[in-house]
Amino acid sequence: MRGQVGLRGKAWFEALTGRNFPLEGDPGSVLTADARLGNETARFLCVVPNPAARFPCARQGEVGLEEAYTLAMRVREVIQQDANGTKRPVIAIVDLKSQAYGRREETAAIFLATATAADAYASARIKGHPVIALVVGQAISGGFLTHGYQANRILAFDDSSVVIHAMHKEAAARITLRSVADLDRLGHQIAPMSYDIHDFARLGLLHALLHVPDPDTPSPITVAQVQKALMDAVADARAGSKDLSNRLMSEGARAMRKAGLAARALMQEQWRHD
């Protein structure tokens, strides 16, 4: 297993933007930069660990109050700046622990904070910005809903330490009264419960899985490879619809989300029947 969550995200942010510190006035946990992507400029955003964060439950790469509002502000800034021009791609580099589990966060309504960031990403998408999530490490629960899951296209590294999940394994085991071994076994049988990125890919939610050698250490070759994948995803997003319907039309969805697609089709049929 690799080290701390967020460090790989930071490494890729730096490799793709040439910057490794926050914009002026922003908390140390949110990195934002405009950088070249092919022949245009894209906005990159990443949540990283910040041991000096004001809020103690948001120091290890969690998305807390400051992180969520900063993401919301930096994404809305792009929408505003590009209102009358070319819509810049927005790239969310994802390697985060989860949302912050703290009392301060609950008291100050973290549900609203995270909603503002999801709102900003979705608004960018609806306005025509290609929004791409690049999952290089962990993408867990409310953290991913806040930062990444509203993207037009989701890319993920094909690597054993990449995890996209509703809840980290130990907590899910406790809450469902199962052992971690049981969860692993169930994951092999029941794809949506799996912690394996290959099983996640089967659900048809990803645009592509990227085989990147030595993913902890970006090299000129792998950076070029990831940039190419991002550019392809941007082009694909621009050519497609501005909603998330691509996630429902994928081959994986047709195989793994049959029940949901049937419920949708029936809803459509009965809705019209006035």
Binding site: A115, I190, A263, L266, Q268
Partner: protein
């Protein structure tokens, strides 16, 4: 001979909380105007629960009614807190998201359709984990698309409350109506205690939970809009008033600068006093509007 008893209004009220999701949804719509879509007889069930030895439910815990409220085209989507704690699965999520998308289509075609969400839920159904989380992301996307045309009114009545990913969805709604028996928060007390320790949050401290997540606090601090009595008529009247009000000028989840400044002004070195937030955040009394 019976002696007339002067029962107080509280006793004679028609409790909303005591109703199940279907009856709650029905009570909000104009009588005779509604029909249920993808109802239990359509048997759209979770394919994942039986694989784990858990009995599915024929509506997957999600009730969708289409009809009118105060004469206006509306769809009510209610999660059943009594089934798997109202958790979001593949099918319940698909029903919710599809109904919101159809309301958006109707709205775009000139038939503005308001959505009312009755959220009693712990969030993602962990037995369908990743499809539950994906469903919530899709519900949020559908809400944001509808919100361009028509309001979304979230009612959290209790007693499950609204937690997890769907609390984020609640945060996107145009209006939030709560009772004193309702709670709203992203991480439930048990989850915080488990993740961050009992010193951070003692999940057995009921007073603390209600002081932070309770409907009275959420409305008083201005992150929800109206506190109503557990009375079907009063909740119905509140919903009708928001249907008539239409879209707010600005949605709360667009108020990034306001809330960012408020977070910046907090003293994060100690726990935050919920009562202090009522004074410093709620501008309702001063400006006549929480926004």
């Amino acid at each position: 001979m019976s002696t007339p008893i002067a029962a107080p209004a509280f006793v004679n009220r028609h409790s909303f909380i005591e109703l199940d999701a279907r009856a709650r949804a029905q009570s909000l719509m104009d009588p005779g105007s509604w029909r249920e879509l993808v109802g239990p007889f359509d048997r759209m069930e979770s394919p994942w629960l039986p694989l784990q030895g858990i009995a599915p439910q024929s509506d997957d815990g999600c009730v969708v009614l289409k009809g009118t409220i105060a004469g206006a085209p509306s769809v009510v989507i209610a999660l059943e807190g009594g089934f798997q704690a109202g958790s979001m699965g593949e099918v319940s999520g698909a029903k919710m998201s599809a109904a919101l998308d159809l309301a958006t289509q109707d709205s775009q075609n000139g038939k503005k359709t308001t959505a009312i969400l009755l959220l009693e839920t712990g969030g993602v159904r962990l037995q369908e984990a990743n499809l539950g989380l994906a469903a919530i992301a899709e519900v949020m996307a559908s809400m944001l698309a509808l919100r361009e045309h028509a309001p979304i009114i979230t009612v959290i009545a209790g007693t499950v409350g609204c937690f997890g990913g769907l609390a984020l969805a609640a945060g996107l709604s145009s209006y939030i109506v709560m009772t004193r028996e309702a709670r709203l928060g992203m991480n439930g007390p048990e989850v915080i205690e488990q993740e961050s320790g009992i010193e951070e949050f003692d999940a057995s401290d009921r007073g603390l939970i209600w002081a932070i997540n309770g409907g009275e606090q959420r409305v008083a601090m201005g992150v929800a809009d109206e506190l109503v009595l557990d009375d079907a008529q009063k909740i119905g009247a509140a919903v009708q008033s928001y249907v008539k009000a239409g879209l707010p000028q600005v949605h709360r989840s667009q108020q990034v600068e306001l809330y960012r400044r408020r977070i910046a002004a907090l003293d994060a070195s100690a726990q935050i006093d919920p009562l202090m937030l009522r004074q410093s955040w709620n501008t309702k009394t001063r400006e006549g509007d929480t926004r």
